[in-house]
Amino acid sequence: MNPIDSYSKYLEYPEIQAYLDETVEQGWTDKVSLAKNIIRQGRDAAEQINILGDDGVPMAYHETFWKSELVDFVILQQDAFDPIDSLCPMERQQFMLDLVLDICAKEFSFENFEECRNYFKEMINLLRQMNYSEFHGDSFEKYVKELNNLLESNGK
């Protein structure tokens, strides 16, 4: 499903927003639009990278692009044939979206775009493995720990 072209009008309804504020958390729809905007920014950055080349754009463009890839791979992509990932309750969605948005809010510093790519690939893999693990189970917590180590090594 195209995450930009697809939309639900309901997220703009005050009744729905009030309901989600109450049942999920205060300001949930704002978080959803925030994530959507990250995807949008990533698409723009990818366009610039395609036009100007990897070396032709500032590092920030690469970072923006990979943050959108992070949302895409971890939040939007779901393995419908995996027994754990195919069932993702609201509590878990909330936890993962918070986690991903926190990461996207950080600023990173990279020497070059290859380093940026490798760093995010590593991070995406850890978060995907979390999606495949039982929520708050042993291996899930193990990946959380590895993720935190990875974040401490760079993110501010």
Binding site: N50, G53, D54, D55, F73, D79, F81, D82, F113, E114, R117, K121, E122, I124, N125, L126, R128, Q129, Y132, S139
Partner: protein, 439 residues
């Protein structure tokens, strides 16, 4: 087809077109066969007393006072085990010099199996071609076409698939086959020593195009005999459905029906569905699987024939000549078997679906790298690895000349992942990485 005694013979035609004749007659039923001036014909339309007949071999030379006799029954096929290993024409007459087949006479083109009496397809049909088995697994009871350009070796691929598939009977419905293709099929089947499980109904380009309208119904009537009566797994190959649809349009357009899109008859969807919906998995274990070929005009999938076909069938397989590997490959982006998840990881190894997804995702990354290269940009280390991977992936897995078991396909994929990528770059579930990662 000699006339019977006391049979009513009509001698006044009211209209003649290239493929049909019309006359006034009573007591005639739809789909009934007739002879017109000694040629076989079939009732395609009745309106009041006016009956329209399609003359299979064309109406050239038929006079307005031609003798028309109705035979009282639609086309039939005699079914029995004697069908095995034989070659027939569109009327079900042997063309291999052998004797006529003895057996129960059945009307062709009847209704398909009641959906309520069917089972969900669940048996894997391995073909040895990784582009199919690994990425687009085919399941018994499925209906799936090859979308191919006319210059691609689709008939050779079909013959390979047929001979490798673990089925009891293979039924070939050849419509508008060139004599070369007909002989190629014949040699392939004879050479494999598998002739006794193959039955062929063939209409070549030498024969009148309208005759080929009978081919799918003949092939499927034989298929239903073996699947329903004998509980056998039957694979039906139909090539080429575009020529079949062209024959449909010849008849309908000459009957002053208003043509639909691309000058096809308005009933094209129903005409095709009537054929494809014969694919079935029966509770008794018998099944009919249909693999068809739809040739494309300049790759145009919006044409009425592939478009309607796509709505009926359960996916499609695209052949593509890959310039990088120099092979004809099954295009992983445009091909899809809609039933693959019914067997992947269930009848195949547990890592199947993840390996498939990772393999195609990395192949897609290679396409991005290729675009970059074409646009004149420097490639990163990852881009180079993707391109090398893509070449080997296309050669060793996507190419149609591959013939290996599914476990070997999975092992080959794991080997390529380890050769070109890190574990994190594949994004595969850790338990599978622990179990299968090579190196």
């Amino acid at each position: 087809m000699a006339n019977k005694v006391y049979q009513r013979v009509y001698t006044q035609l009211e209209a003649i077109t290239k493929a049909t004749v019309a006359l006034r007659a009573t007591g005639v039923s739809n789909d009934e066969l007739a002879t017109v001036h000694g040629r076989l014909a079939q009732v395609v339309k009745t309106k009041g007393d006016t009956v329209t007949l399609q003359v299979f071999s064309g109406t050239e030379g038929i006079p307005t006072n031609a003798e028309v006799a109705f035979l009282g029954a639609p086309p039939t096929l005699k079914v029995s085990d004697q069908l095995s290993g034989r070659f027939f024409d569109a009327y079900g007459h042997p063309i291999d010099g052998g004797p006529e087949v003895e057996g129960e006479e059945r009307q062709i083109g009847g209704p398909s199996v009641n959906p309520y009496k069917r089972r969900q397809p669940s048996q894997l049909i391995p073909t040895g071609i990784a582009g199919i088995d690994l990425n687009n697994t085919i399941v018994s009871g499925q209906k799936i076409p090859f979308f191919a350009d006319p210059d691609q070796p689709y008939n050779a691929v079909m013959a390979d698939v047929a001979l490798r598939a673990d089925v009891d009977k293979i039924i070939l419905g050849g419509m508008g086959l060139s004599n070369d293709d007909y002989l190629a099929f014949r040699h392939a089947f004879e050479g494999a020593g598998a002739l006794e499980k193959i039955i062929s109904f063939v209409n070549t380009t030498e024969e009148p195009p309208v005759e080929r309208l009978l081919i799918p119904d003949m092939a499927l009537t034989a298929a239903e005999y073996f699947a329903v009566d004998k509980n056998e797994k039957v694979l039906v190959l139909l090539t080429d459905m575009t020529l079949y649809a062209d024959a449909l349009s010849i008849v309908s357009n000459r009957m002053d029906q208003i043509p639909s899109k691309d000058s096809m008859p308005g009933s094209l969807y129903s005409d095709l569905a009537k054929i494809y919906e014969k694919a079935v998995q029966l509770p008794s274990g018998g099944s009919i699987t249909i693999i068809a070929v739809t040739t494309l005009n300049d790759g145009d999938i919006t044409h009425a024939i592939p478009d309607n076909t796509g709505y009926i069938t359960e996916g499609q397989l695209f052949l593509r000549a890959d310039a990088d590997s120099g092979k004809v490959i099954i295009d992983p982006f445009r091909s899809l078997s809609r039933l693959k998840q019914l067997v992947q990881g269930k009848q195949t190894r547990d890592d199947h679906s993840q390996v498939m997804n990772a393999g195609v995702r990395l192949y897609a990354d290679a396409q991005n790298a290729k675009t970059k290269l074409e646009n004149g940009f420097d490639l990163s280390d990852y881009d180079h690895r993707c391109l090398d991977y893509a070449k080997e992936y296309a050669t060793r897995l996507l190419s149609i000349d591959v013939n290996i078991k599914i476990d070997e396909m999975l092992d080959t994929a794991w080997e390529l992942f380890a050769k070109y990528f890190t574990k994190a770059e594949t994004g595969i579930k850790q338990t599978f990485i622990d179990k299968y990662w090579k190196g």
